[in-house]
Every structure is written in structure tokens, then in C-alpha cells.
Symmetry: C2
Subunit: 257 residues, 2 copies
């Protein structure tokens, strides 16, 4: 299935499930959609926090077709699930945005760890949450984001346990992909990030860490969702976690070197 | 002082001390000098163990002037100290090789961690052993080298304690320099390398590891010296550890990308 074929199935309602494992060579994106009044601040927030919020594309006000992300793409219908936040609270979930679309809405597409996980798997690095078909474990940290306007909060990280040699190789591989979170932000002692218990993730599912493994932490695309909630905007739209926008961008084309 | 000026002081006997901290932008080299009868096996050993034995240059039999390493260079006199091994035992130490030089001796120049330490310092990554003016801590491991002829043994590693973010950055930086050991081979638990106590290094000096630091291990240029000792060749010559050959090769020219 090509990304276009998958998006067409999403649009028709035939595909309504998490997108992990589909169209592996292609980048999937986190979505943030905001009224223009808050877009400049959010753009600045992403610029100041590039590890958590690497931007793949930003639309013009009202623009729902972003050629940069894919052919015949309709941002209002091509993601398998959307969260609608009002005043910082999850107000509803939907499969299409046509009814609430406005001419002042600005689309932000943010890189997703599925891209680098694909690269890690291709390099033979085991990923336990993938093998066990779980969502990756994610944690709020004590590391403050660089603020911009109403957007602030702390960095959210995802964690993957690895043997040391795999962790070193994973740092090499993910360093090539700053557009999809890049290198890890931490490894080893979780307490240094303010994480009390790795077995109690704030999002996603816990996975076992074996005695010869080390936890490796990447900045996570859930960071902007936390910042959005704390900003309490009258309206903000995101994808549902795990239900990503599948783009036509080849992961390999994102390599910085 | 240029590398040529330093080598001239070495040759005249004016410089007889460890070379750490001199000519920082230029690569320093580990030396191994062997009779031609063992050179092919040792070349194969280096090829099979490139993390520990990255070759900067290999001479022809009898050749003591290696243009690849530097201008007006005499390998018999331009290193501040030499170890002469006979039957695997340190038989003598000397400042010049003219008296024992033979037309069948082959020079191997092997990359040295001083090069990547220079790159790490330039990047603002603290190195405790440098700050404390100690030799780096080195350890024998339980990781067997890939054997070739009489050469085998286990990998020797050097260890530098770092905060996690610095360790990640150090992996990125050293990955660019495979000619000087490249990326670390391990980080975290020393027991996984068969190291019982980091405070008891097999070579060099112990350094403190702070609670927010992680030990990071690189393959070490002492590995071939261990292999040489175990091979018990009738004759083998090396530099004295810390008394390196200072070359005209800019470290920055060794970057793989």
C-alpha cells in the first residue's frame, strides 16, 4: 500500500486504526492545527524546541492541502483520528474536520519517531515495544521547554531499552535525522530527568528493561500536545496519538548527511 | 610549536616527555614495528580489529621515512620513547632505533585517542583525566579480538566518565573519526565487559565517576601491544605509552563525513 492509497482508505473510512507498521519507508507526522492568532507563537515554540517539535511542514492560514506532505492530500480527512481541544480540554474526537474547518486554521506537521524506528529496525536493532506490539513508553520530564507566548511546559520523552552497542548505533543512526527528533536527549539514570519509575509511563505502555540494557530517551512528539493543553487555547486540533498522518516523504530523504 | 618542530626537538633529545597536550590539532600515532615475517599477519589483525587498531600508515620493509605521516620524519628517532620487546617481554627502552634498525622492519602507525579527545575538548565536553593531568584509565576486557596468525588476545578499552548528554554528543563526534578509534564500543555497566572495578584500571590512572555520570568505553591503542606481548615474537618495537609519534596529519582531515 502506498501512502496515497492508505490516505484514500482513511478518507473513505475504510482505515480507522493506528498507523504504526504501515508504509514503513515513509514519514508519518504528528499534527497540530491552530487558529492563526496563535500560529506565530507556536511556530516560535517549535523553533526553540526542535528536538521535540521538528517541523516537516507548516501551512498557510486555511490551507488544508499541503503538497510538501503528499499528493492529493486533504489534512481534514486523511488522518485516521483527530482530537479537538477546547480551552485545553479534550472536547471531542472525530474522523473528519470539514464541519469545524475555518479559514484561519494553520497546520503544523511535526516529525514522528516511527521514522527513526523504521531506520533502527532496518539496521537490525531490536525494539521491544514493536516486538510486543505495544505503544512506546512515554514520560513527562522535569526539563522545561523554551517558552514562546502561551506555550511552555516540560519535555516529554519516549524510552527504548537497548544493549549498549545498540544504543551507540542508535545514536549514530538517529543523529542523521534531526527532522524526526534526531539523537537521544538522555540515556541511563531516569531520575536525572525527574522520572521516578520507568514501569509507570505517563503515556503508552511499560516494557521490561533487561539487566544488560540501558534506557535510551528521545524527545517526543507528545511534547507539543502537553504544551497545547497547558496553553488552554479556545481551539486546538491534533491527531489522536498513534493515528498519524502518513506522508509521501521518504524517511531516507530526511537524512541530514 | 609545529609537529615538525616538535619532532626535531625529539630527535635532538631536547623533548623527552609524554606528548599529550602538544600540537593539539594534529594526530598523534601509536607505533608498532615488526620484522617483515610477521607484518602480513599483523596487517590482517589490524584489518580485522579496526576499532582498536585503525591504521594511519604502513611502511615498506626497511622504510623509516613515511611521507604520509610527516615531512622530514625519521621513525627511528622522532618518537620520544620506544619499548623493545623480545620474546614478548619488555627487554629495553630507548630514545633511538638506529642501532637495532633492520632492512626488514615494517612500521605500523595506529590512530590515537588524543585526536578525538582534542575534538571533544573543542566541543566543550569536559575530560576529567585531562583536567586532573592524569593518564586515561584503561582496562583489559573479556571481548576477544579477531585473531590473525599469532595475534589475538582481548580488546583493551579506555574509559571516560561523562554526563549523558555529553556521552551522546561524544558518540556523534567520535563517530566521524573511525581512523582514531571511532565511536565508543560500550557505555554503562562495566561488568558487561568483564571489568570488575573501574577504580582499578589495568593501565593509566583511575578517575572519579560522579553520580550523574556514565562510563563511556572506547577501543584502545594498547590492544595491539597486548596482542604483541601474547604473540611472543623474537622482536617487536612500540612507542612507550604516552610518548607518541606526532604527525603532520590534521585531526580534522580524518573526519569521515
Amino acid at each position: 500500500m502506498t501512502p496515497l492509497e492508505l490516505r484514500q482508505q482513511v478518507r473513505s473510512g475504510a482505515f480507522r486504526q493506528p498507523t504504526a507498521g504501515y508504509c514503513g519507508p515513509y514519514a508519518q507526522a504528528n499534527l497540530v492545527i491552530l487558529p492563526q492568532a496563535h500560529a506565530d507563537d507556536f511556530l516560535l515554540f517549535c523553533q526553540r524546541n526542535p528536538r521535540a517539535c521538528p517541523l516537516l511542514a507548516v501551512g498557510e492560514p486555511g490551507q488544508w492541502q499541503l503538497d510538501r506532505l503528499g499528493a492529493d492530500l486533504d489534512i481534514r480527512s486523511d488522518t485516521p483520528g483527530y482530537n479537538i481541544y477546547r480551552d485545553g480540554r479534550l472536547a471531542s474526537q472525530t474522523h473528519a474536520l470539514h464541519e469545524i474547518w475555518r479559514d484561519d486554521l494553520v497546520v503544523f506537521a511535526i516529525g514522528c519517531s516511527f521514522s527513526f524506528e523504521h531506520m533502527l529496525s532496518e539496521a537490525g536493532i531490536p525494539l521491544r515495544h514493536v516486538a510486543q506490539r505495544r505503544n512506546v513508553a512515554m514520560y513527562r520530564t522535569n526539563r522545561p521547554n523554551q517558552g514562546a507566548g502561551p506555550f511552555g511546559g516540560e519535555m516529554v520523552v519516549s524510552m527504548r531499552p537497548m544493549k549498549a552497542a545498540d544504543a551507540i548505533r542508535a545514536i549514530q543512526i538517529t543523529s542523521r535525522y534531526p527532522a524526526v527528533h534526531g539523537a537521544p536527549v538522555h540515556l541511563g539514570d531516569p531520575a536525572l530527568l525527574g522520572i521516578a519509575d520507568l514501569m509507570q509511563p505517563d503515556y503508552g505502555d511499560a516494557v521490561e528493561i533487561l539487566p544488560d540494557e540501558i534506557p535510551v530517551f528521545w524527545a517526543c512528539g507528545v511534547t507539543p500536545q502537553e504544551a497545547l493543553r497547558q496553553a488552554r487555547l479556545p481551539l486546538a486540533i491534533t491527531h489522536q496519538p498513534g493515528y498519524m498522518l502518513v506522508t509521501d516523504i521518504l524517511n531516507s530523504s530526511l537524512a541530514a548527511f
